[in-house]
Protein backbone atom coordinates (compact mmCIF):
# COMPACT_ATOMS: atom_id res chain seq x y z
CA UNK A 1 0.00 0.00 0.00
CA UNK A 2 2.73 2.45 0.95
CA UNK A 3 4.77 1.73 -2.14
CA UNK A 4 1.71 1.75 -4.38
CA UNK A 5 0.80 5.23 -3.27
CA UNK A 6 4.35 6.53 -2.81
CA UNK A 7 3.56 7.26 0.84
CA UNK A 8 5.83 4.69 2.52
CA UNK A 9 4.62 1.68 4.51
CA UNK A 10 4.90 3.12 8.00
CA UNK A 11 2.20 5.76 7.40
CA UNK A 12 -0.14 2.77 7.30
CA UNK A 13 1.76 0.55 9.77
CA UNK A 14 2.40 3.07 12.60
CA UNK A 15 -1.26 4.01 13.22
CA UNK A 16 -2.18 0.31 13.19
CA UNK A 17 0.61 -0.46 15.70
CA UNK A 18 -0.49 2.39 17.98
CA UNK A 19 -4.27 2.05 17.69
CA UNK A 20 -4.68 -1.72 17.58
CA UNK A 21 -1.51 -3.22 19.11
CA UNK A 22 -0.81 -0.85 21.99
CA UNK A 23 2.68 0.16 20.87
CA UNK A 24 3.77 3.58 22.28
CA UNK A 25 3.67 6.29 19.61
CA UNK A 26 7.38 7.18 19.66
CA UNK A 27 8.40 3.50 19.47
CA UNK A 28 5.98 3.04 16.54
CA UNK A 29 7.53 6.11 14.89
CA UNK A 30 11.11 4.94 15.56
CA UNK A 31 10.36 1.45 14.28
CA UNK A 32 8.13 2.68 11.47
CA UNK A 33 10.87 4.79 9.96
CA UNK A 34 13.08 1.68 9.69
CA UNK A 35 10.24 -0.27 8.07
CA UNK A 36 9.97 2.60 5.62
CA UNK A 37 13.56 1.93 4.55
CA UNK A 38 12.67 -1.70 3.79
CA UNK A 39 9.63 -0.61 1.83
CA UNK A 40 11.55 2.02 -0.09
CA UNK A 41 14.59 -0.14 -0.83
CA UNK A 42 12.36 -2.84 -2.32
CA UNK A 43 10.10 -0.65 -4.40
CA UNK A 44 12.76 1.96 -5.19
CA UNK A 45 15.14 -0.72 -6.45
CA UNK A 46 12.41 -2.21 -8.58
CA UNK A 47 11.48 1.16 -10.11
CA UNK A 48 15.15 1.91 -10.74
CA UNK A 49 15.69 -1.37 -12.56
CA UNK A 50 12.78 -0.57 -14.90
CA UNK A 51 13.85 3.01 -15.50
CA UNK A 52 10.77 4.65 -13.94
CA UNK A 53 12.53 6.17 -10.91
CA UNK A 54 15.05 8.91 -11.70
CA UNK A 55 18.17 8.43 -9.55
CA UNK A 56 19.64 11.85 -10.30
CA UNK A 57 16.45 13.74 -9.41
CA UNK A 58 15.90 11.51 -6.38
CA UNK A 59 19.39 11.97 -4.96
CA UNK A 60 19.39 15.73 -5.55
CA UNK A 61 16.08 16.24 -3.79
CA UNK A 62 17.09 13.81 -1.02
CA UNK A 63 19.61 16.41 0.17
CA UNK A 64 16.62 18.57 1.13
CA UNK A 65 14.50 15.78 2.59
CA UNK A 66 17.37 14.37 4.65
CA UNK A 67 18.18 17.76 6.16
CA UNK A 68 14.47 18.20 6.88
CA UNK A 69 14.31 14.73 8.41
CA UNK A 70 17.07 15.59 10.89
CA UNK A 71 15.10 18.67 11.94
CA UNK A 72 11.92 16.56 12.14
CA UNK A 73 13.47 14.07 14.55
CA UNK A 74 14.68 16.90 16.77
CA UNK A 75 11.19 18.41 16.67
CA UNK A 76 9.70 15.03 17.65
CA UNK A 77 11.87 14.80 20.76
CA UNK A 78 10.51 18.09 22.11
CA UNK A 79 6.85 17.75 21.05
CA UNK A 80 4.21 16.45 23.52
CA UNK A 81 2.76 13.04 22.55
CA UNK A 82 -0.81 14.37 22.29
CA UNK A 83 0.29 16.96 19.78
CA UNK A 84 2.13 14.26 17.84
CA UNK A 85 -1.11 12.23 17.58
CA UNK A 86 -3.00 15.23 16.22
CA UNK A 87 -0.24 16.21 13.82
CA UNK A 88 0.02 12.58 12.63
CA UNK A 89 -3.75 12.46 12.01
CA UNK A 90 -3.75 15.86 10.32
CA UNK A 91 -0.89 14.88 8.02
CA UNK A 92 -2.64 11.65 7.05
CA UNK A 93 -5.81 13.62 6.43
CA UNK A 94 -4.09 16.15 4.17
CA UNK A 95 -1.80 13.68 2.39
CA UNK A 96 -4.38 12.32 -0.10
CA UNK A 97 -5.72 15.77 -1.05
CA UNK A 98 -3.31 16.43 -3.93
CA UNK A 99 -4.42 13.15 -5.49
CA UNK A 100 -8.07 14.03 -5.00
CA UNK A 101 -7.57 17.47 -6.57
CA UNK A 102 -5.70 15.94 -9.48
CA UNK A 103 -8.51 13.43 -9.88
CA UNK A 104 -11.11 16.16 -10.26
CA UNK A 105 -9.01 17.87 -12.94
CA UNK A 106 -8.72 14.51 -14.67
CA UNK A 107 -5.16 15.02 -15.93
CA UNK A 108 -2.26 12.61 -15.69
CA UNK A 109 0.14 15.55 -15.99
CA UNK A 110 -0.76 18.58 -13.93
CA UNK A 111 1.66 20.97 -15.55
CA UNK A 112 4.13 20.18 -18.30
CA UNK A 113 7.13 22.47 -18.09
CA UNK A 114 8.68 23.14 -21.46
CA UNK A 115 11.60 25.20 -20.13
CA UNK A 116 14.13 24.05 -17.55
CA UNK A 117 15.61 26.37 -14.94
CA UNK A 118 19.38 26.75 -14.99
CA UNK A 119 20.05 24.58 -11.91
CA UNK A 120 17.95 21.67 -13.18
CA UNK A 121 19.65 21.94 -16.55
CA UNK A 122 23.14 21.98 -15.01
CA UNK A 123 22.31 18.97 -12.81
CA UNK A 124 20.86 17.14 -15.82
CA UNK A 125 17.46 16.60 -14.20
CA UNK A 126 15.61 15.01 -17.10
CA UNK A 127 14.83 11.54 -18.35
CA UNK A 128 12.41 9.23 -20.07
CA UNK A 129 10.52 6.06 -19.28
CA UNK A 130 8.35 3.54 -21.06
CA UNK A 131 4.73 3.74 -19.98
CA UNK A 132 3.23 0.26 -20.30
CA UNK A 133 -0.32 1.55 -20.22
CA UNK A 134 0.20 4.13 -22.97
CA UNK A 135 2.64 1.85 -24.79
CA UNK A 136 4.96 4.76 -25.52
CA UNK A 137 8.20 6.38 -24.37
CA UNK A 138 7.55 9.47 -22.24
CA UNK A 139 10.24 12.17 -22.13
CA UNK A 140 10.28 14.64 -19.25
CA UNK A 141 12.43 17.34 -17.69
CA UNK A 142 12.42 18.90 -14.24
CA UNK A 143 12.08 22.62 -13.60
CA UNK A 144 11.55 25.02 -10.67
CA UNK A 145 14.36 23.32 -8.76
CA UNK A 146 14.66 25.91 -5.96
CA UNK A 147 10.92 25.82 -5.12
CA UNK A 148 10.91 22.04 -5.19
CA UNK A 149 14.02 21.86 -3.03
CA UNK A 150 12.51 24.01 -0.28
CA UNK A 151 9.18 22.17 -0.38
CA UNK A 152 11.16 18.94 -0.04
CA UNK A 153 12.70 20.24 3.19
CA UNK A 154 9.13 20.51 4.52
CA UNK A 155 8.38 16.96 3.39
CA UNK A 156 11.55 15.81 5.15
CA UNK A 157 10.53 17.50 8.40
CA UNK A 158 7.18 15.65 8.31
CA UNK A 159 8.99 12.37 7.54
CA UNK A 160 11.39 12.76 10.44
CA UNK A 161 8.78 14.04 12.85
CA UNK A 162 6.32 11.20 12.27
CA UNK A 163 8.60 8.42 11.04
CA UNK A 164 6.69 8.13 7.79
CA UNK A 165 7.78 8.34 4.17
CA UNK A 166 5.71 11.49 3.53
CA UNK A 167 5.75 10.40 -0.09
CA UNK A 168 2.52 12.26 -0.85
CA UNK A 169 4.26 15.55 -0.17
CA UNK A 170 7.32 14.51 -2.13
CA UNK A 171 5.13 13.45 -5.04
CA UNK A 172 3.32 16.81 -4.76
CA UNK A 173 6.61 18.67 -5.02
CA UNK A 174 7.93 16.65 -7.96
CA UNK A 175 4.58 16.50 -9.72
CA UNK A 176 3.15 20.01 -9.28
CA UNK A 177 6.31 22.08 -8.85
CA UNK A 178 8.90 20.22 -10.93
CA UNK A 179 6.39 19.12 -13.55
CA UNK A 180 7.36 15.44 -13.60
CA UNK A 181 4.94 12.71 -14.76
CA UNK A 182 2.95 11.21 -11.87
CA UNK A 183 4.46 7.74 -12.25
CA UNK A 184 8.00 9.12 -12.28
CA UNK A 185 7.18 11.25 -9.20
CA UNK A 186 5.73 8.27 -7.36
CA UNK A 187 8.60 5.95 -8.29
CA UNK A 188 11.32 8.53 -7.53
CA UNK A 189 9.54 9.37 -4.29
CA UNK A 190 9.84 5.70 -3.29
CA UNK A 191 13.59 5.97 -3.67
CA UNK A 192 13.82 9.31 -1.81
CA UNK A 193 11.73 7.95 1.07
CA UNK A 194 14.43 5.40 1.95
CA UNK A 195 17.17 8.02 1.88
CA UNK A 196 15.12 10.35 4.06
CA UNK A 197 14.25 7.55 6.46
CA UNK A 198 17.91 6.55 6.78
CA UNK A 199 18.95 9.95 8.11
CA UNK A 200 16.05 10.08 10.57
CA UNK A 201 16.10 6.35 11.36
CA UNK A 202 19.72 6.34 12.45
CA UNK A 203 18.88 9.06 15.01
CA UNK A 204 15.87 7.15 16.37
CA UNK A 205 17.99 4.00 16.57
CA UNK A 206 20.78 5.73 18.48
CA UNK A 207 18.27 7.41 20.81
CA UNK A 208 16.59 4.08 21.59
CA UNK A 209 13.16 4.58 20.01
CA UNK A 210 13.47 1.54 17.75
CA UNK A 211 12.21 -1.94 18.60
CA UNK A 212 14.29 -4.26 16.37
CA UNK A 213 12.06 -7.26 17.08
CA UNK A 214 9.01 -5.31 15.94
CA UNK A 215 10.90 -4.25 12.83
CA UNK A 216 11.89 -7.87 12.16
CA UNK A 217 8.33 -9.08 12.48
CA UNK A 218 6.91 -6.43 10.15
CA UNK A 219 9.68 -6.14 7.55
CA UNK A 220 9.04 -9.38 5.60
CA UNK A 221 5.39 -8.41 5.06
CA UNK A 222 6.34 -4.88 4.05
CA UNK A 223 8.97 -6.13 1.60
CA UNK A 224 6.55 -8.59 0.02
CA UNK A 225 3.79 -5.98 -0.21
CA UNK A 226 6.01 -3.30 -1.72
CA UNK A 227 7.51 -5.77 -4.21
CA UNK A 228 4.07 -6.78 -5.45
CA UNK A 229 2.78 -3.19 -5.60
CA UNK A 230 5.87 -1.87 -7.42
CA UNK A 231 5.32 -4.56 -10.04
CA UNK A 232 1.76 -3.44 -10.76
CA UNK A 233 2.20 0.36 -10.49
CA UNK A 234 3.02 0.86 -14.16
CA UNK A 235 -0.09 -1.09 -15.18
CA UNK A 236 -2.50 0.83 -12.99
CA UNK A 237 -4.22 4.11 -13.72
CA UNK A 238 -3.46 6.99 -11.36
CA UNK A 239 -7.15 7.08 -10.42
CA UNK A 240 -6.97 3.55 -9.01
CA UNK A 241 -4.04 4.60 -6.84
CA UNK A 242 -5.92 7.60 -5.47
CA UNK A 243 -9.03 5.64 -4.52
CA UNK A 244 -7.08 3.02 -2.54
CA UNK A 245 -4.91 5.71 -1.02
CA UNK A 246 -7.69 8.01 0.20
CA UNK A 247 -10.01 5.46 1.78
CA UNK A 248 -7.45 3.73 3.99
CA UNK A 249 -5.43 6.79 4.96
CA UNK A 250 -8.45 8.87 6.01
CA UNK A 251 -9.76 6.08 8.20
CA UNK A 252 -6.40 5.85 9.98
CA UNK A 253 -6.15 9.65 10.20
CA UNK A 254 -9.40 10.01 12.14
CA UNK A 255 -8.34 7.22 14.48
CA UNK A 256 -5.06 8.97 15.29
CA UNK A 257 -6.67 12.38 15.82
CA UNK A 258 -9.27 10.85 18.14
CA UNK A 259 -6.44 9.68 20.41
CA UNK A 260 -4.85 13.09 20.58
CA UNK A 261 -8.05 15.01 21.33
Amino acid sequence: MGALTGLGGSAIASPILVNYMGIPLRVAIGSGIIITIANSSTSGASYLSRGIANLRIGYTLAIATMLGSIAGVLLNLYTPTRILYIVFGAVLLVAPLPGVIRGSSGGEFVRIHSNQDSISARLGLRGSYYDERRRSQIDYQASNFIYSFFSMIGAGVIAGLLGIGAGAFKVLSMDYIMGLPFKVSTATSSLVIGLTASSGGIQYLILGYTDPLLVSLLTPGVILGSYISSRILNKLTSRTLRIIFTAVVWFLAFDMMRRGL
Binding site: S49, Y59, M66, I206, D211, P220
Partner: protein, 122 residues
Amino acid sequence: MAGGIEYIVYRVLRFSIVLTLIVIIIGLILIMIYTQAGLIESQGFRGAGINMIVDLVARGDPRGLAGLSVLTLIGGVLFSIAFAMVGAYKVGDRPLFIVSLALIMIILISASIGLYIKAQRP
Protein backbone atom coordinates in the same frame (compact mmCIF):
# COMPACT_ATOMS: atom_id res chain seq x y z
CA MET B 1 16.62 -2.13 -17.66
CA ALA B 2 18.15 1.13 -16.48
CA GLY B 3 21.74 2.25 -17.17
CA GLY B 4 25.06 1.88 -15.30
CA ILE B 5 24.86 3.71 -11.99
CA GLU B 6 21.13 3.01 -11.60
CA TYR B 7 21.83 -0.67 -12.10
CA ILE B 8 24.58 -0.65 -9.42
CA VAL B 9 22.26 1.08 -6.94
CA TYR B 10 19.52 -1.40 -7.79
CA ARG B 11 21.86 -4.34 -7.17
CA VAL B 12 23.09 -2.95 -3.83
CA LEU B 13 19.56 -2.22 -2.59
CA ARG B 14 18.35 -5.64 -3.69
CA PHE B 15 21.30 -7.32 -1.98
CA SER B 16 20.62 -5.44 1.27
CA ILE B 17 16.97 -6.49 1.18
CA VAL B 18 17.85 -10.15 0.56
CA LEU B 19 20.48 -10.02 3.32
CA THR B 20 17.99 -8.37 5.69
CA LEU B 21 15.39 -11.05 4.98
CA ILE B 22 17.94 -13.84 5.57
CA VAL B 23 19.05 -12.25 8.87
CA ILE B 24 15.42 -11.76 9.97
CA ILE B 25 14.36 -15.32 9.13
CA ILE B 26 17.36 -16.87 10.89
CA GLY B 27 16.90 -14.47 13.82
CA LEU B 28 13.19 -15.19 14.25
CA ILE B 29 13.70 -18.95 14.05
CA LEU B 30 16.50 -18.79 16.67
CA ILE B 31 14.44 -16.46 18.89
CA MET B 32 11.56 -18.97 18.83
CA ILE B 33 13.91 -21.85 19.69
CA TYR B 34 15.64 -19.89 22.48
CA THR B 35 12.33 -18.62 23.88
CA GLN B 36 10.83 -22.12 24.02
CA ALA B 37 13.98 -23.36 25.73
CA GLY B 38 13.60 -20.54 28.29
CA LEU B 39 16.98 -19.01 27.46
CA ILE B 40 15.59 -15.56 26.58
CA GLU B 41 12.36 -13.59 27.05
CA SER B 42 10.14 -13.25 24.02
CA GLN B 43 9.10 -9.61 24.29
CA GLY B 44 10.62 -6.88 22.15
CA PHE B 45 13.61 -4.91 23.34
CA ARG B 46 12.88 -1.26 22.95
CA GLY B 47 15.69 1.15 23.43
CA ALA B 48 18.11 -1.10 21.62
CA GLY B 49 20.81 1.26 20.47
CA ILE B 50 23.73 0.19 18.29
CA ASN B 51 25.81 -0.68 21.38
CA MET B 52 23.15 -3.08 22.64
CA ILE B 53 22.77 -4.71 19.24
CA VAL B 54 26.53 -5.30 18.99
CA ASP B 55 26.55 -6.61 22.57
CA LEU B 56 23.68 -9.04 21.87
CA VAL B 57 25.35 -10.32 18.70
CA ALA B 58 28.65 -10.75 20.57
CA ARG B 59 26.91 -12.74 23.34
CA GLY B 60 25.23 -14.99 20.78
CA ASP B 61 21.76 -13.76 21.71
CA PRO B 62 19.47 -14.28 18.67
CA ARG B 63 17.73 -10.98 19.39
CA GLY B 64 20.93 -9.38 18.21
CA LEU B 65 20.08 -10.66 14.72
CA ALA B 66 16.85 -8.65 14.82
CA GLY B 67 18.95 -5.62 15.63
CA LEU B 68 21.40 -6.55 12.91
CA SER B 69 18.56 -6.51 10.36
CA VAL B 70 17.97 -2.84 11.20
CA LEU B 71 21.64 -2.10 10.59
CA THR B 72 21.64 -3.98 7.26
CA LEU B 73 18.69 -1.89 6.08
CA ILE B 74 20.36 1.43 6.95
CA GLY B 75 23.73 0.10 5.74
CA GLY B 76 22.15 -0.93 2.43
CA VAL B 77 21.03 2.63 1.75
CA LEU B 78 24.40 3.99 2.83
CA PHE B 79 26.30 1.56 0.60
CA SER B 80 24.00 2.24 -2.37
CA ILE B 81 24.86 5.94 -2.11
CA ALA B 82 28.56 5.11 -1.75
CA PHE B 83 28.47 2.87 -4.84
CA ALA B 84 26.61 5.57 -6.79
CA MET B 85 29.30 8.03 -5.72
CA VAL B 86 32.11 5.75 -6.89
CA GLY B 87 30.23 5.02 -10.14
CA ALA B 88 29.71 8.73 -10.76
CA TYR B 89 33.39 9.40 -10.10
CA LYS B 90 34.45 6.69 -12.55
CA VAL B 91 32.30 7.98 -15.40
CA GLY B 92 33.14 11.62 -14.61
CA ASP B 93 29.59 12.54 -13.62
CA ARG B 94 30.57 15.43 -11.33
CA PRO B 95 27.06 16.61 -10.29
CA LEU B 96 26.00 13.11 -9.21
CA PHE B 97 29.32 12.56 -7.42
CA ILE B 98 28.91 15.77 -5.40
CA VAL B 99 25.26 15.01 -4.61
CA SER B 100 26.12 11.46 -3.45
CA LEU B 101 28.95 12.76 -1.30
CA ALA B 102 26.58 15.29 0.27
CA LEU B 103 24.08 12.53 1.07
CA ILE B 104 26.71 10.42 2.86
CA MET B 105 27.84 13.44 4.84
CA ILE B 106 24.27 14.24 5.88
CA ILE B 107 23.78 10.67 7.19
CA LEU B 108 27.02 10.97 9.18
CA ILE B 109 25.94 14.36 10.55
CA SER B 110 22.58 12.85 11.52
CA ALA B 111 24.29 10.02 13.40
CA SER B 112 26.57 12.52 15.13
CA ILE B 113 23.59 14.61 16.26
CA GLY B 114 21.92 11.45 17.60
CA LEU B 115 25.05 10.51 19.55
CA TYR B 116 25.37 14.06 20.88
CA ILE B 117 21.76 14.13 22.12
CA LYS B 118 22.16 10.70 23.68
CA ALA B 119 25.30 11.82 25.48
CA GLN B 120 23.48 14.87 26.86
CA ARG B 121 20.66 12.76 28.32
CA PRO B 122 20.93 11.52 31.90
